[in-house]
Symmetry: C2
Subunit: 613 residues, 2 copies
Amino acid sequence: MSRSIFKRLVTVDEALNALKGHVKPLPLGIEEVKITETYGRILGEDIVAKIDLPPFSRAIVDGYAVRAIATSFASEVNPVKFKVVGRVYAGEGSSLEIKEKECIEIDTGAILPRGADAVVRVEDTSIDGDYAIIHSSLGKGSGVATMGSDVYNGQLVMEKGEGLTAEKIGALAGLGYGRIKVFLRPRVAIFSTGNELLEPGLELSPSKIYDVNQYSIGALVQSSGCIPIYLGVKIDNFEEIRGAIVEGLNCADAIVMSGGTSAGVSDLAYKVFEGLGSPGLIVHGIAAKPGKPTILAAIGDKPIFGLPGFPVSALTMYYLIVDPFLRSISGKKLETRKTLKSGLATRHISERGRREYLPVFLKRSEKGLVAVPILGGSGAIASLCSADGIVEIPENIELIEKDERVKVRLFPQVKVADLVMVGDPSPVSQLVLSELRRSGVRVRSEFRGLEHGLALIRSETADLLVACTPEDERALNLYDFPSKIAKIGSFKMDMVWAFYGEGALSSGSTLVLPKIGSGLRAHAEDRIRKMAKDFKVIEVWSYDAAVDQILNRRDIVALLPLRMAKKYGLGFVEAFPTSVNYLAYERLLSTRVGKRLLRIMKSEDFRSALAPI
Amino acid sequence: MSRSIFKRLVTVDEALNALKGHVKPLPLGIEEVKITETYGRILGEDIVAKIDLPPFSRAIVDGYAVRAIATSFASEVNPVKFKVVGRVYAGEGSSLEIKEKECIEIDTGAILPRGADAVVRVEDTSIDGDYAIIHSSLGKGSGVATMGSDVYNGQLVMEKGEGLTAEKIGALAGLGYGRIKVFLRPRVAIFSTGNELLEPGLELSPSKIYDVNQYSIGALVQSSGCIPIYLGVKIDNFEEIRGAIVEGLNCADAIVMSGGTSAGVSDLAYKVFEGLGSPGLIVHGIAAKPGKPTILAAIGDKPIFGLPGFPVSALTMYYLIVDPFLRSISGKKLETRKTLKSGLATRHISERGRREYLPVFLKRSEKGLVAVPILGGSGAIASLCSADGIVEIPENIELIEKDERVKVRLFPQVKVADLVMVGDPSPVSQLVLSELRRSGVRVRSEFRGLEHGLALIRSETADLLVACTPEDERALNLYDFPSKIAKIGSFKMDMVWAFYGEGALSSGSTLVLPKIGSGLRAHAEDRIRKMAKDFKVIEVWSYDAAVDQILNRRDIVALLPLRMAKKYGLGFVEAFPTSVNYLAYERLLSTRVGKRLLRIMKSEDFRSALAPI
């Protein structure tokens, strides 16, 4: 075991520096590739021009090459005549030379004849036999691109480490480079460990989950300029993990592995690198939330990154540690990460002693942009899809107040939300959503029931709340809405008890309820008890999931909108009518988004789309 | 010929709409690819989750699964005992169930046993035989990720047209997608026409230039999500161009061609599409500067873009017309282009009646960001490498005043300059430059001589001016510097007359002078006339170019710094000592960049690096 192992948790910077102490973060080498293969690659040499660009002084208009001085007194009333003594075409050499009162017909791109220092546009001349007549005076250099005026011989045009964009590739072509030296792209072996992990595409079995990290890390590795090599899912034991490390060392320049959610690499870290070469294990544990069980190791000059199993933790540690290191060895200049100051949308309590990295999304509000924490937990990958960046909370900060300014490290793609929509699931909302999106409004939505939505509305994280209630004017009074919240629209939705084919309601079967507001839920349970006793209740997150349950298990009854029961051809009996209510802060109504929302909800098209099938 | 041809120049928007009237800008189709091949691709289907994520309620810590209610009164002084009735591992199913005062040992990631609704961390328990002792009360759901809490069955997770990022690929993996439907990437055939064009990599011959557009457009096509097919350089005649179009129609979904600087496609446009199919030519000429000779055509459902030959014009028209169209057919959602308001650094006069697209770079100044026009002309590709965006000047605007606010459409990569350095070329400046860059200062430099630099300093476009003069305190007095310009540093540089091997100065040979200030040039010519008569003078842009001249042609003499003559082993005789002077606005010195500059110029390391070899 190497003596360099830290006995304590280290910070992200300490960890990265410790690794750099063992493995130099330098490019692996150079390869020469055809210019057509260079888009997105990293230039591996300084480019000092060996020619002038343009390589000769040339016409940039079609016209006549002249000596500018000879046009000095030309004007509309006093035109000057030049004898046409020849013609030069683009791409052809010419030994022609002109004298004071002569000119030569010339194409755009053609070499400027000796003696000439300007080109007059053909539109600005007239022809009289062998003579071109010029009506205005020209400055020296007019209509001409001088040799070397774009790039001069000896000019440092580009530097090693620059990413090759379209403009740069064009410039390299113009300078005559048919092949270009670029840095080698490091190969990075990737695997996941965890007894509960399954490769996506296989059938899901109980107690298993699909592996996420191998694929998200594979994509990240490409964004860092490297080539991923996927080694698969490994069982959490010494032989499998060690085998994968040996395989990775053989086929790649670096390894990124991640534990499942179970013990994994982190627990085996002290043993698994032993005897493979020095330095072995370097860092075991990082003082960061998420990301604590991160390990760093190296065998020879090959770095090994062991990331936590939880997807959000793995991605966060990738951005902070793996990406900067892989960029260095891929030759990319380190970009200063883009940051933005904004208010935090909600009060946030952090753990003392560990640096916290909090994923957020950005939302437009009347106070400008606000950063809204994404609190899916570190296992929640889908929630992270909507993140715009990360807020870093130092070790000594325990509390950030609502609206306190924080620094957001932005992800490459930022999409600021115009509207956040929450509450009960409903087919009506799907229609509202797609109409809003069609008109260019960026909406984030999360339909996790009325209680969840109410909390987000109270914290002003969300703007629009969907509340399903029994069809009763007073139903909304049961809830404690913040002041300044108004009902902005309401739609009737008939609900039914739906079941498979001829199946019917009977005591002892299972009742499936989508996550709906407590008022509606109580109402539903109340009603069903009048029809049969002893229902066992399962909650699901959406009406679609309820339909799935009916189609898969036949002994159940689910509360569904009439439209959906009809759509899937289910048997049903009438339950009760409900109202789908839309509630928002009054200030929303005076905004562009609010006005669009009202217009959509009032439109004839929209109302007719909602009519029962 | 189609009746849809415009008889007048059209605007960019009219042109794009005319094309869309003939060719629907819709994706070409869908393919299903392995998840590992999806990075950067465009999602071709809406993703509605078919499972819950997590698929079951699971532990997110290692510990003991309990009923939360049974811990209600647990505290440090009043611990509660739970009987351990079993163990569940991650990845394993379990039929275990717990009752009120029982618990089950559980791994992170393992399925929550029936009856349990919370998991207490192993760190927060102690063990007493068959019992786990709990010292604090737990809330329901503590230590647990509930089934469906990340994604719920039926949730619309992603929409058709989204670009696949690492996070999204991870979410798709988590939902079990091993293969993913993505939009087909359109194949785009590219060729250039022009008798003067040469493929890069071949030897440059007189009157020829290297083809730029095929390669810059090839890279742009990739950035628009398409696959480029390079058809090569074509001669400017009907058969060649028509042949290339037919080839492109056979092998690709779209064609992007560009004229050389000579006549090219634009002149043949009326004939070359005839008889290939309808609609043929659609737009011939756009009211834009640069970009007037742009043509649009289509054969069947394949669009054909004919761009101008000048590289800057071609790129500008690509960004405005080709990119939006190709993005649509590649399935990408149109991103709203990023824009920025800033002051224009210099007065700019535009042509009435044509919309002008002016490439600019961004520079930090005490007034905030300013946009500096890049005036390399439309042939200048290298100048465009440093552009950060384009300012659009409407048809009816003839004049933009200095500091007037303009809207800059930003390119994908923006690098704001901290310092712009201009003036005479000098090896000293190369050292200053690399030291500045090493310390993280972004410098743009253009060493095109003192007169050129002086103009840029006067317009406040540049910050730092390099002036080479004879070593004489009064030499700088000859120049008309703006007030508030101060000399901030000065270095001695010995100059020599350099020549090949034993060659010597003689009348009638050629004298090569780098682009140096008029004072120095007069001084140099003066001196050489004292030694020999009838020198013919050639100007080059850099000392490197002068060395090239000496090594290639032996009958010349060049004015070079002593260091360079020695470095290349050239013969030389002493010429005269010069001063390399650095001048800047006084306000620069109080900035971070100015202070760093002064520190570099005063450093011991720097002075010693300048000592003669």
